[in-house]
Each structure stands twice: as structure tokens, then as C-alpha cells.
């Protein structure tokens, strides 16, 4: 299979085309603008629509419109732009409209900077918009995975009629790695008989995100709840790397950090350390059960993130106090180095690491 060296952002954009995305609405922001740039050239070639909106708010509402017609549609941005899109994402979740929202996140809060960060974990996994809604969140860790998870994102959006977020960061978006373009097969999906196709085709349909009767809205929210439970049962994904059967430390990290932790495990092996890495691939639904099982096996957990401590809350929910959970982070666009994490592990193994 031929390998092509591609930038993360461009690989994601091409994967969207190949997954059948024909509508893209966005507004430029570093470090993800290459997605827009690539699609502005490629979408017209395949008969699609590329539109640079006047703002992020306009873009997400255009996504709502295209999704309501049953089309595969995507928008992308970075932290500050995603903040602007949150109202629209809540509306999309309420209207049960499938779409893909990409966040190549950067250092925050505020306008922050353009370097890689993972500080949008809460925003992605807890909503950020109002109301009781959830979005699936996929966390790729390589350029090849940006391709496979973009396909998966469109599939899951249609399967659940729900927005799906891809949470990357500046490093994944800007780096180049070889990519192979093989056919990706996913299970069949039900027909979109809910989509609004215009006058003259069957019964009248409505796509709404308002329900004034509280009894009816409660029923609807319970229906959403079932959907979120089904996501947890059927579509939680993770990877385990390193010493799986008898670890004496469990590392947990996602995306860019998980790559660094793989290097850490290889270096640690030279010291005789038996370390396992659990890399959540879906951040919502989060692999709580696996975290607990692996934490019990290892007896000690170290969470590494590029934020002040966000995913660690999910890790602790999974561990349920059955093992101490340590934390190491770099923030503000700084990326942890292999040496720093090795030092932290040495401290923990000597019993000096603070929880």
C-alpha cells in the first residue's frame, strides 16, 4: 500500500471528503486553517460546498441547516472558535442532527496562543453549551488515526443522530506522517427518513429544538439519555500499550500526550520498569471500566495532560479510590518531554510523588 506524507489537518480534510462530507462551513483560526484551505480546493472538485462564513456562529448554524437535509457536513475550529459554536452545538444535539465538529485545540484560556494544548477537554466532554446534552468525542493520536477517526466520526454521527467532536491539538494538526488510503468499511446505517427534502416528498416533517411542554421535554431528554447509554455500551474505544498483564504503574493520556507516553514506556523498559499505557480513544464515552481494571492491576496511576487536570476527573471516577492517582502536566501551549515524565515516574516509584 502506497504511503503519502501528509499534514494532520490535510489528512483529516481528505478523509472527510472520502467519508462523503459534501458541505463545510468554517471560519479560519490557527492551528487548523489548513483544513479550510484544503477543503476550499477539494470540495468544489467533488461537487460539494465550501463556505467561509462571516463568523463561527454563522458557520455552526449553516451546519444545522445542511444537517437537517440529511447531508454529511463538517465544521472545524480551535478553542476560541469552538466556544462561539457551543450554542449551535446544543441546538444540533437537541434537534438530533448528525454533524462533525473538529477542534484542533490551542493554549487558553481566552485568545491564549496557537501552541498545542488539551485544555478543551471539559468543553468537549461536558458540553459547553447549555442543557443536558452530550457529544461523542474522538481523540486521535496520529495522522493515520485522524483519517480513520474522521470516517468513524461521520458514521457515529449518523448512527446516533448526534454531533460528534474530534478533539486534536496543534501538534496533530501541524505534523506530517505517512498515511495509507485504504477503503474503510463501516456497518450499514438506517435511511435518513427524518431529513427535510423540500416540498413534494411524503409527509410533512419538522426538525425542532424547542419543546414547551415539560412532560414532553422530559420524555425527550430520557430518550437522549438512552442514546448516551447506548454510546457507552457499544462505542467506547481505547488502546492499551506496554506491559498489559503485570504492570506496576498505569499511565493514562490521550492524543499527543499518549504518543509521548509511548516513548516514556520504551525508555522506562530499559530501567526495568513495567508500565502500561491506557489511551482513551473516545473521551465521551470514557472507558471507565477499563481504567478501573487496569488501575487495580497496577496499583498506581499517573495521568499526564496538557491542562491543569481535566481528564484526571474521569480517571478518578473510573478508579473509584481503588488506587492512588498522580498527575503531571504542562500547560499554556507547553508540551511535556519524555525526560520530565520519566523523572515524575522515578519519584512515584520511590514513593515521593505527590498525589
Amino acid at each position: 500500500m502506497e504511503r503519502i506524507l501528509m499534514k494532520g489537518n490535510e489528512a483529516l480534510a481528505e478523509a472527510a471528503i472520502q467519508a462523503g462530507c459534501r458541505f463545510y462551513f468554517g471560519y479560519p483560526i490557527t492551528p487548523q486553517t489548513e483544513i479550510s484551505e484544503y477543503l476550499s480546493r477539494r470540495l468544489p472538485e467533488v461537487g460539494g460546498v465550501f463556505l467561509q462564513a462571516e463568523s463561527e456562529i454563522a458557520a455552526i448554524n449553516m451546519v444545522y441547516g445542511a444537517a437537517a437535509t440529511g447531508a454529511r457536513v463538517m465544521t472545524s475550529s480551535s478553542g476560541p472558535g469552538i466556544s462561539l459554536k457551543q450554542e449551535g452545538i446544543s441546538y444540533l444535539a437537541s434537534a438530533e442532527l448528525p454533524c462533525v465538529v473538529v477542534n484542533m485545540s490551542r493554549g487558553g484560556p481566552g485568545l491564549g496562543n496557537i501552541q498545542p494544548a488539551q485544555s478543551d477537554y471539559f468543553q468537549a466532554t461536558r458540553g459547553g453549551g447549555h442543557g443536558d446534552y452530550r457529544t461523542l468525542v474522538l481523540a486521535p493520536s496520529s495522522v493515520q488515526e485522524l483519517v480513520s477517526l474522521t470516517h468513524r466520526a461521520f458514521y457515529l454521527a449518523d448512527k446516533y443522530r448526534n454531533p460528534v467532536k474530534i478533539l486534536g491539538d496543534g501538534m496533530l494538526g501541524q505534523m506530517m506522517e505517512p498515511v495509507t488510503w485504504e477503503e474503510i468499511e463501516l456497518p450499514p446505517l438506517p435511511p435518513k427518513n427524518w431529513a427535510i427534502k423540500g416540498k413534494g416528498e411524503g409527509e410533512r416533517k419538522f426538525i425542532l429544538c424547542m419543546e414547551l411542554d415539560p412532560q414532553e421535554l422530559e420524555k425527550f431528554n430520557r430518550k437522549l439519555e438512552k442514546k448516551y447509554q447506548q454510546m457507552a455500551e457499544e462505542d467506547t474505544a481505547w488502546e492499551i500499550f506496554g506491559e498489559e498483564s503485570d504492570p506496576h504503574l498505569l499511565l493514562v493520556g490521550f492524543g499527543t500526550v499518549a504518543r509521548i507516553l509511548k516513548s516514556v514506556i520504551r525508555e522506562g523498559k530499559k530501567e526495568g520498569w513495567r508500565i502500561a499505557l491506557l489511551r482513551p480513544i473516545t473521551l465521551f464515552p470514557f472507558p471507565y471500566k477499563v481504567v478501573q481494571k487496569m488501575a487495580e492491576k497496577a496499583g498506581k496511576v499517573l495521568v499526564v495532560e496538557m491542562n491543569l487536570g481535566q481528564m484526571i476527573e474521569d480517571v478518578k471516577l473510573g478508579v473509584e479510590g481503588k488506587a492512588p492517582v498522580h498527575f503531571y502536566s504542562r500547560v499554556g501551549g507547553m508540551v511535556p518531554t519524555v525526560d520530565e515524565v520519566l523523572q515524575k515516574i522515578a519519584d512515584i516509584l520511590r514513593g515521593e510523588g505527590r498525589k
Partner: protein
């Protein structure tokens, strides 16, 4: 096991990212795992630029490195910043056209090459400085074959840029010849 962590630093406009891309593409064409990560700050021409390329036999973890085993510095700021990081026994390639300072490290191998002068005089195209350096690097440390590097250039310089191939090939040869003379 094959594993190289290569750090390249210089001014924006010196072709730092391009040089990295040629290395990564050549590594890929030889069947290795590769990654390329640029500094992507707001700086463009005239600012500082750097880029990390990793070429390995196994799945690549971290795409940035604390201790490169090969480091190319094309200007003084990157010389000062990166030369202390080079792994013991590693190779530091210094563009001596722009770097007058001496490197005091005894524990690494140093290759000095007046790449700007060589590019200007021998190829007539100043922009090929990066390829002169690459030619010298591959001659000193054959981590990749010359034919893979040439194929990488053919893969990257397509369309309107195809006419730049021959001068880039020439620049590689100029660097290679310089290194061979140095060794004698």
C-alpha cells in the same frame, strides 16, 4: 535498531521545513516510520524556524526530542539554542557561513560547512543552501541513501516546481563533494 531524532534550526526562509520534509519523505520511501513536526509560530521569513524529524524502525511516540542525535544549525541563534542538546556521540552540522562561534563540545562529532558560499558559488542559487547541507549530512552519516533523497525531491517538487529539481540535485552533490574533501 534504526532510530534517528533530527533537529533542524535556522531563520525562516532558509528552507528549514523543506529540508525536514525531504528527510522525512526519503525515510518514508525507504520504508521507515517517520514524523515531521515544525515550529509553527507566527514568525515567517526572517524569524526563527525549527523542525524535528524522526526516522525509526518502530512506531513513533514523541514527535519532539530532548536529545537529537543529529542536529543541523543554520544560524547563530539556533546554534546557541540547540548545540547543547545534541546527544553524546551525536552529530552537529554547522553552517559556518553564518555561524562564527566555535563549539566547545568534545563529546560530539562536528561537521562545519560554509553552505551559503558553496550554494552561491557552485550552484548559483542561494536558496539551495539547505540541500548543500543535506548532501554533506548524508555523506557523513548515511542514514538514508542518496537515491531515496533524490526520489523524495522528485515527489515534493512537482508541477511548476519540477524545473527546480536539477539545481537541487546539484546542491546535494556539492555538499557531498565538500564532505568527501573534508574527510581526506
Amino acid at each position: 535498531m534504526m532510530h534517528h531524532e533530527i533537529l533542524i534550526g535556522g531563520f525562516g526562509g532558509q528552507g528549514i521545513l523543506f529540508l525536514g520534509r525531504v528527510l522525512a519523505t526519503a525515510g518514508m520511501l525507504e520504508g521507515h516510520e517517520v514524523s515531521w513536526f515544525p515550529s509553527y509560530g507566527p514568525e515567517m521569513r526572517g524569524g526563527t524556524a525549527s523542525c524535528t524529524v524522526i526516522i525509526s524502525a518502530e512506531e513513533i511516540g514523541a514527535t519532539v526530542t530532548d536529545h537529537p542525535d543529529i542536529c543541523i544549525v543554520m544560524n547563530e541563534p539556533s546554534f546557541r539554542r540547540f548545540s547543547p542538546l545534541v546527544k553524546e556521540g551525536g552529530l552537529l552540522v554547522i553552517n559556518s557561513s553564518l555561524i562564527r562561534e566555535n563549539c566547545s563540545r568534545q563529546d560530539i562529532e562536528i561537521l562545519k560547512i560554509p553552505a551559503n558560499e558553496l550554494a552561491g558559488k557552485e550552484t548559483g542559487v542561494a536558496e539551495t543552501t539547505n540541500m548543500v547541507i543535506l548532501g554533506a549530512l548524508i555523506a557523513r552519516k548515511p542514514i538514508l541513501s542518496f537515491s531515496a533523497v533524490k526520489s523524495a525531491l522528485e515527489e515534493i517538487l512537482t508541477g511548476k516546481k519540477k524545473n527546480l529539481l536539477s539545481v537541487n540535485f546539484k546542491a546535494l552533490q556539492v555538499g557531498k563533494n565538500f564532505e568527501e574533501k573534508e574527510r581526506q
